[in-house]
Amino acid sequence: MKIAIPIEENKEAVCVSFGRAPYFLIHDTDTKTSEIKVNPAAEAEGGAGLKAAQFVVDAGADALITVRCGQNAADVFMAAGVKIYKALSTYANENLKAMAEGKLDELTSFHAGFHGKS
């Protein structure tokens, strides 16, 4: 299964923002490999969460681990069958470990969209 995590400039810490994270970490649990990809939505004028969600879906992710997520992006993930989990720790690799141990909770509350303006 493929897991996506929005990450900071340092490529290690989880980014607080989903839509405008500079990078996404895509981890494949079958091959146990990770890729770091530039988030095409980071500089988007508006609807960044949506563009980032499109990117994550296209990357083949089955799950997303994030600190927070907007309602719009959440709607995309629901339609695409991607499960969203709440990040537990600061570092991406620690979250992956927690996920493998079944310690992560699903994210159930989403913030309202910034209406194409953020």
């Binding site: 004028e45 508006g46 913030h111 303006k117 953020s118």
Partner: protein, 290 residues
């Protein structure tokens, strides 16, 4: 960092006056002016040094190359924003109406239309012991919500250690207001005791509810209508909306502002009442982080 946003619904109720006072009371080291259409906080927050200024790129704007244009009018026919005009030589764009959708560029048979970056305003960041982020939107521009988001993000990035950030918002209920609400811990609504003020209060509260933002209300210039003030207080009680108190109309407040000072810099009825409101609001803020 806890974030307090000050809104009003109706214009002219005293948001900026309250914000300026709170900044003093809290000795806040991080504050922002998100009323990007008509910013005023910088007029009472002085001695901050020179700001760093950044161009704010809004959406794109379409531009017609008159050399390539053959005046066929295909662009005008598809533009939904009435943004295209024409003279004998060529068609041209109205930069104020253009929303940068790109439809005209897509249909132009001559490839005469391109989309360019549009400098829609300027972000000004004052850095030092106190961090102040403000901006001004170029006239006629939309995308004010995105500029608001940039002001907030500039503040958060440059003052991460600050305990409390105070954000002066804009009137209305539209995009700059909605953008300013995201991620704040509490919204203080400065209400005016009048028919208009009450109607606008209800609309801004509805808007805050749509975005699940916690709100607290205070009444400014309460003695211009004690009757309407009581109506607002009853409304808050009936709807379980937190209420932070009332501030009297005070000519001294206006005099202070005109002299470029915060109301909190002088001792008068308004500043004393604002202090009490501030104490109740900070009480709400600490409550909300539990």
């Amino acid at each position: 960092m806890r974030k307090l946003l000050i809104l009003s619904g109706k214009g002219g109720t005293g948001k900026t006056t309250a914000a300026a006072a709170f900044i003093r009371f809290a000795e806040a080291r991080a504050f922002a002016d998100c009323d990007v259409d008509a910013p005023n906080l910088h007029l009472v927050e002085k001695n901050l040094g020179e700001p760093e200024c950044f161009d704010y790129l809004g959406s794109h704007k379409a531009v017609v190359d008159p050399e390539k244009c053959v005046n066929c009018g295909s662009c005008q026919a598809v533009c939904r924003f009435d943004a295209i005009g024409a003279d004998e030589k060529s068609h041209f764009l109205n930069e104020f109406a253009c929303e940068g959708c790109g439809v005209c560029a897509a249909v132009c048979p001559q490839g005469a239309i391109s989309l360019r970056d549009d400098v829609a305003g300027e972000v000004r960041l004052y850095l030092g012991e106190r961090v102040f982020a403000t901006a001004e939107l170029k006239m006629g521009r939309g995308n004010s919500g995105k500029l608001v988001a940039e002001v907030k993000s500039a503040l958060l990035k440059n003052a991460p250690a600050a305990d409390l950030a105070i954000i002066d918002g804009s009137p209305g209920i539209g995009c700059p207001v909605i953008a300013s609400m995201s991620g704040v811990d509490l919204v203080l609504i400065v209400a005016e005791p009048s028919v208009s003020g009450i109607s606008d209060l209800e609309r801004i509260l509805k808007t805050a509810a749509v975005f699940r933002t916690k709100a607290v209300v205070c009444v400014n210039k309460w003695d211009t209508s004690p009757e309407k003030t009581e109506a607002i207080e009853r409304f808050c009680a009936e709807n379980e909306i937190a209420y932070a108190g009332r501030i009297p109309y005070d000519a001294e407040a206006s005099n202070a502002i005109n002299a470029g000072k915060s109301v909190a810099d002088i001792d008068c009825a308004a500043s004393r009442a604002l202090r009490e409101v501030f104490d109740r609001v900070t009480g709400q803020l600490t409550g909300s982080t539990q």
